[in-house]
Structures are given as structure tokens and as C-alpha cells.
């Protein structure tokens, strides 16, 4: 199968590979997928508690080139967005940007799931610590 040049670029030069401290109350972690399905994504966001803006995003992905590219792209898009803006990212946006073929759409779905899981984890932490941090935790999503 031929990959688009954007997928190849993300595969060869993945953006924001790495990990953020899981225990940090301002970090949300999403781990989605399953090894037996052939793809697992870990996506993390670090939210500025003052502004509700995502300062940093990191990923690690076990999966095909399209899965790596989808999560790499997601981290690029997440940085600078508010939590609510982040939740508005749709898998179809990723499909369009990376020109994913139909058999690879599930990679973009997984990336969207990973974003949602990371933000939900962050919100849970915020509620647990009782710090309803400004816009970030507004129950609008």
C-alpha cells in the first residue's frame, strides 16, 4: 500500500514522541486500543491550570504508519488549544489532513478516542483534587 507523503513525514519525523509525568494533576493520559488489534496509542496533554490551554502534548504509539502519523498529528494540533477546542477535533479532520485510505480510517478514530480519553482523565483529576480550573473544567463538553 502506498502511504501519503504526510504519513511518511510523520512516520520518519514523529512530532512530540515521549511521556509526561502521569501523576501530575495537570496531565491527562489516554491509553486506547489493544495489542491484539495491532494498535495501541498513549496520548498525554499537559494543561495550564491558569488558562485551560494545552501547553504540551506527547504520544507513544504501537501501530502501523498511519496510526503513528494520526497520533503525531493529533499532538501537533492539541498544543495551544483549550480543552474544549481539543474535544472538537474529529477523526475525519485527521483522515483529510493525512489522506488516509479507507482501510486506515480506524487509526484516525483511535486518535480521536485517545484525545477524548486524555482529556477525560485530566478532568477527572481536576475534580478529584477539587480544583475546578477555570474554563478547562466547565461542563460544556
Amino acid at each position: 500500500m502506498a502511504y501519503s507523503s504526510k504519513v511518511i513525514d510523520h512516520y520518519e519525523n514523529p512530532r512530540n514522541v515521549g511521556s509526561l509525568p502521569k501523576e501530575d494533576p495537570n496531565v491527562g493520559t489516554g491509553l486506547v486500543g489493544a495489542p491484539e488489534c495491532g494498535d495501541v496509542m498513549k496520548l498525554q496533554v499537559k494543561v495550564n491550570p491558569e488558562t485551560g490551554v494545552i501547553d504540551d502534548a506527547k504520544f507513544k504509539t504501537f501501530g502501523c504508519g498511519s496510526a503513528i502519523a494520526s497520533s503525531s498529528l493529533a499532538t501537533e494540533w492539541l498544543k495551544g488549544k483549550t480543552v474544549d477546542e481539543a474535544l472538537a477535533i474529529k477523526n475525519t479532520d485527521i483522515v483529510t489532513e493525512l489522506s488516509l485510505p479507507p482501510v486506515k480510517i480506524h487509526c484516525s478514530v483511535l486518535a480521536e478516542d485517545a484525545i477524548k480519553a486524555a482529556i477525560s482523565d485530566y478532568k477527572k483529576k481536576q475534580q478529584a483534587t477539587g480544583k475546578t480550573a477555570e474554563k478547562a473544567a466547565q461542563p460544556t463538553a
Binding site: Y11, G38, G65
Partner: protein, 406 residues
Amino acid sequence: MAIKLPIYMDYHATTPVDPRVVEAMLPYFTELFGNAASRNHPFGWAAEEAVDKARKQIADLVGANAKEIVFTSGATESNNLAIKGVAEMYREKGNHLITAVTEHKAVIDTCKALEKNGYRVTYLPVQKDGLISLDDLRNAITDKTILITIMTANNEIGVVQPIAEIGAIAKEKGIIFHTDAVQAAGKIPFNVNDLKVDLASLTAHKIYGPKGVGALYVRRRNPRVLLQAQIDGGGHERGMRSGTLNVPGIVGFGKAAELCRVEMATESVRLAALRDRLNRKLHEGLDEIYINGSVEHRLPHNLNISFAYVEGESLLMGINDVAVSSGSACTSASLEPSYVLKALGAGDDLAHSSIRFGLGRWSTEEEVDYVADKLTKVVTKLREMSPLYELAKEGVDLSTMQWEVH
């Protein structure tokens, strides 16, 4: 010596035609173009003579008599002819067949087709090393069993089944024994009499011959095996397979078989050394890599390795100047992990992380070193990017983790 890219290391999928084979074939496209079935003029005689010579060359490769070789379009047809041909011919004797879960699709799907027509098929499991258990085989045999079909060497993991022992059991029970010998014949010693094989599928394109020509060895004595033809017509090939013979292809098949027979002893030693070098270098550069299937009972030119925590397709993407296969070429278009590796109980994650290396006549030490180095770098990079590798290094047992299977 400079390396020519891309490197071909997928000799189980197909092989290039040896120039000596091409040379032997060429006259049969033009000046010696006759129909081997034309009995009344020199054009036909020349073609028939060439076919007879090839029949002998192929028979010699497997220790058969030339009259026992039936030409087909390839091994898929040979497997269909053997299995359906026996099932239909011996229907009154019984309706039960025995095969294994790791067979090629050409065998599995043929058996599935028979099941729709009232036949019963036992699919033997394999052990962790990819070999069937002879006890399982004995236990599966009933008084209705008419055919055992077990491949000699597996196309993905290269393991070689205990064919002589299976042949002895089949003989003892009076059951016809077919083997898909496509990956083995021409690569390792394969003699139909020593192994007590009654039917064997062969193909030219896996042994440096052309695509589109294969053969079925059909035993003529002790016992004489009868087959229901699957293609009707002019009654070619002793009535077992009608259709004008592919004379140039058959000539090439014959020449390829002869070259393999003559060169097998030295070539298999050379390839085993290259394969072992590849394996050693990968193990030196990487931890947590696992060979799939028996190391001892294995083709000399096959290596199938799972690279834990790294997904196979992304691995192939990183070595895109090397032609290898993740799973088998027939299934690599789908996202399903290899059913052969799953049958070994490898776990789906390891099945997703596997690469099949097939070495062959033009493989070199330089190529092996290039592939080992490149793969070591790519796996290391992908593991740095792998959440599974990170979790494993933190001491998390991945097999007990709860995953949301989507």
C-alpha cells in the same frame, strides 16, 4: 561489493527465474512452438519430447517415476486436484479428511469447500513449535478417513513436518497421503518413496522456474492412486488434467528442478549459514525478539521473527528498501494477523510484530548485514515510540492488562 536496492528477501513468495532456465525455455516460444498433443508431425513430436524430458527432471527431483508427474497450472491447482480428486473418487469408502490449521489457504479453502458438500474435515492443531502431534493424527483417524493432507514445509515459518512418520501412519492405516511440498522440494531432500507420500504438490516459481506451471505427483504403485479430474477436456495427462500443456513453462520447470537437484546440497549449507548470520546479528542488536516455529525442524533459508512491542506494518515501512513479508503475501493486504502464528499460540501482539525472511539463490552476506543493521535501528526507534515497550520496561505485565478491544 555495492548493494543493489531494494533487496529481495521474500523467496518464499516467489523466486526470480534463473537465467539458465530462461535460456532453456526460449526456443519453445518460437521455433519449437508445437502442441505436445499433436502426434502426427515433427512440431508436436519436438514439444512432446521436451515435455517428457522435463517430466523426468521433475520426477528425479522427488524420486518418482516420470509417469507419475501430472502437469498443472501451479500448486493451488495441484492441491485442488489432489484433495477434491481423492475426495470424489473415494467417496464410497469414506467422507473424512485430515489436515492441519497451518496449511496454505489453497489446502484449507479446498477442504472448506468439501465440507459444504458433505465431507467432514479434521483440522489438527499444531504445537508451540509449529509441528503437528503424531498422537493427535492417530486419534483423528476413523474408518471413514480417506485422505491425510499435511504440508511438508510451512510457507510462513518454514517448519518441516514429520512427513516420513505421517507417511508411515497413513500407510499402516491404508489412507492416501497428500503433501503440499511447494516450499520443500528443491530446497531440502524430498523423496516420495522414502517419505511414503502418495500425492505431492509442486510448483516451478518457488524453485527459480516460471510462474503458471506446477505439477502433482500421483503414485502409480502401492497403492495406485486414482483421481477424479477437476478439469475435463481432451484427456491430457492420463485423463487427470485436460488442457494443452504449457510447453515452455514445463521445459523451464524441468530445468529448474534439475538445477535444484544438482545444487541443493551446497546451496542449502550456504543459505543456512546466511540465515544463521542474520539471526545472530539481530539477536546481538536487539532484546526480546523471538523466532516463530521450530529452529531444528526448519527450512535452511527461512527465518520468522517477532519483534516484541513493535507493530509489523510500521516495521516494514521502516525497511522499505527490503522486500520481506509480515505474515504471508496472501494475507498481507488485510489487517488480520497471521493465522499460522496465531495457531502457534504466539499471542496476537507477537503475531502482529512478525517478519518472514526468505533467503535464496541470489542472497548475499552483504545483503544480510545491511538488513540486520537497518532492522536493528528501526526496531530501536519504534520501541522508543512504543507505549507497550514503555509499560513492559516499567514492569507492567501486558498480558494481564485490561485493554479496550475495539
